[in-house]
Amino acid sequence: MSEQKKVIIDIEETERTQLGELSELENIEAFGVLTVKNPSERCRVWNVRVLLSDTRDQTDITEDVLLAGEIDAGSSWQHRYKVTVESPILTLSETYDTCGEVTTEEPHWAYCFGKDNLLRVTIRVKNETDGEIDNIVLNKTVPPELSNVTIEQVKSGTAEYDDGTRQIIWKDFVIYPHEENELVFTATANVEDAEEKDAGQVVVTYRAEGQQRSLLAPDLTALTEFLTGIDSAENEPNNWEVTLECSNESDLVIRLDKAEVYVESEESGTKEKRIDESPEIELGPGTEWTSSFQMESKSQPKCSQEVIYTPVNIVTKRVLGTIEKAAQSIPVYKIEYTKTFDPPEVNSFDKTPVEVNIEVRNAGTAKINEITVIDKLPDDVMPPTKEYIEIYIRGEEYTGNFEFAIDPEDQDPNHPHTLTFKISDLKDSVGELQPGESIRINYSIMAWKSRPEKEYPSPIHCFANTYPPGIETEVASAEDGHKIGIIYKKRRISAKKAINKGTEAGQYILVLVIENKGEVTVENVKVSDWIPRGFEVVGIEPEDLEPRQQPVDDGTDLVWIFERMNPGDQKKIRVTIQGEGEYDRREPVVTSD
């Protein structure tokens, strides 16, 4: 049995889709090639007409009938066209979550500077049609800042990462109608600068056999080698058997659509249809079809025929697709800070208000939604209260809510304090902090009798995060950073004593001169002077400088306490004592804070 060859009408349509960074459809175009192939080994087909009727609406084909002319054996004829489509038959989405370790409703979209960013990337492809899609090959470019690339999950198919080409290739799977497939991989990203990074392109190719994007439903008519003829045989006198004979002389399958035979009347010359058939029979190569009738005629009948046939065709079709998803731009969130004291130095032993200014700048390329500053204040510093903290964003005072905590919750300068400032949800208040913009925190402290021999570091630790929050980027000073400068003001307290005889026997006048000759105020100056047993105080000048008398083993200590002595302050005290016995000289003892 010879091979049943049929003319092939092949519809191959191609769609090319471009997706944006976030998998949004940016562009799609589709075009097709309609091919008529003559599979015959020896027979030409001619008068080929491709019939499209009313199925060409979504294409740029302007005629209902395409004239293909003649097609030699083994040759083909093509017609290209465009197809209007709105979306591809395979949809692709990529979720590039830069922080897979923190679960949020929306994916994270920026790298954290200075940290390991544990990525979780999910790529989904979905068959939007009622047919299968196969031959799917997906290539994901892996950017250079990624390491530890691990395929975590594929629903079907095989996915491998090639470290040499830095490509993930996912293939060998079929997606059934309206089903979805998914690839998940994880990686670690480390960025060394704040420039925006490229997350890598995704390209997927696919094939949908038996499907098409246009609505074309073509048919064709053509001629080929097909023999027809009328055989008139007289069976009896004046009785004729007229036979229409059709023979497929080609190696193609031919469909006989119509067979008509007309007999012309000798007398009137009119034609009478004697064979009128629509057999729609497919005739294989070398096969025949006949139809006959009997008629009376004195002479051989004058017959004519009308036969319509055409090579049988089959339609094949497929869609080939490509989707290119643009690489997502991944910005980097990074902060820098400055911290200053005004004045930068304070006098030792004094109480001095100091302005503290902390400026946190968005030094990255991502928008920042929240900033936290942890600022440590040393002892001998009175911390601020919340109502006097000022925050400026983009140079304007920020009046929105912010969190402030102080630990411990007091203003006692005798111990260190930790201040925490948190300005969050900028997105919904004054807008996220754009790259280059900054937040300034201003508050006051009171340096409280700072001691010159001590150091007063005030380290700081700043954090920032995006929306949705991932891992925090941070920047910090050294643990002993940001020292409050202390200007050493020398303390010098002079105590002089004179002993003069009084107006009576056994009477002495002690003159004490206490003077602050230093550069700084001293507080709680304690002056202690001894008088021997047997003597008592009988007079003090000035009277308001009455000492406290404190008995000791061998006499009495006279004690004065001066709460505060400024540089240059002098206290001159005359003490008249009266008694019996020897009066040994001892020097006054002076102490102070």
Binding site: D350, P353, M382, S444, M446, E563, R564, N566, D569
Partner: protein, 239 residues
């Protein structure tokens, strides 16, 4: 009750029903802060520079008021025509007392802007109307005022030869008055900082910024509760 009227710069008048005291009626940029015809009983001047002495002599002549100051100040006022019998030289830490008022001067220092030399400036501790007022004049050192009991402390904050804000705050915190009144400021940022620091670190101290022409009335409610009100012009003021 003690009333304190602010004229501007460093000029205040303290008054009770018994007496009145004008402090530093200075002249600034050639203009007197206090009118020549002010009715006042005593004028106290803390140093001999024009921004302190001002038109004290003319006011004293018109009002027949006493003028108090150190030797150089008294000499200057005398040379400007004040009556010698209405002049009184103050001595360091020696109180000057009349019915209804006790004033004790303490030697402090300021810088003469003409030559950058240090000159003496009296800080005054004033007791009037059951109130203790520390007025440090044009001082840049605090002397004993950080330790003296004061209900009201009046201090310069402008720097440039007198206290800058930080030193003014420091003395207020040590003296711990109920009211801290700044004077002699150069700009409003100084006022803002002074108020901020006092409010924040001077627990129990109220910073009170007075505008020229304003009158402060202070009183002890029920004999022990400090109260004050401030108005543009006091009820007995005519200007």
């Amino acid at each position: 009750m003690l009333r304190i009227k602010y004229f501007g710069k460093t000029s205040f008048m303290l008054s009770t029903e018994e007496t009145s005291l004008l402090l530093n009626p200075g002249i600034w940029d050639g203009e007197a802060v206090v009118p020549d015809d002010l009715d006042v009983r005593i004028i106290a001047v803390t140093n001999h520079l024009d921004d302190a002495v001002g038109n004290a002599a003319q006011i004293a002549i018109n009002a027949k008021a006493w003028v108090l100051g150190d030797e150089s100040t008294i000499e200057k006022v005398k040379s400007q025509g004040a009556k010698p019998w209405l002049l009184h030289t103050l001595e360091n830490e020696i109180p000057y007392e009349i019915p209804g008022m006790k004033l004790t001067p303490y030697i402090l220092k300021r810088t003469d802007p003409a030559n950058d030399e240090k000159i003496e400036n009296y800080g005054l501790h004033i007791e009037m109307g059951k109130m203790k007022v520390s007025y440090v004049g044009d001082s840049e050192i605090r002397g004993p005022f950080g330790a003296l009991e004061s209900h009201i402390l009046i201090t310069p904050i402008g720097g440039d030869g007198v206290f800058p804000v930080r030193d003014a705050v420091s003395i207020c915190i040590d003296a711990h008055p109920k009211l801290a009144i700044p004077m002699r400021w150069e700009d409003h940022e100084q006022l803002k900082r002074f108020s901020k620091y006092i409010s924040q670190f001077g627990h129990g101290i109220t910073p009170l910024v007075m505008e020229p022409g304003q009158v402060l009335e202070t009183d002890w409610a029920a004999g022990h509760e400090f109260r004050f009100t401030i108005s543009q012009n006091g009820p007995n003021e005519s200007d």
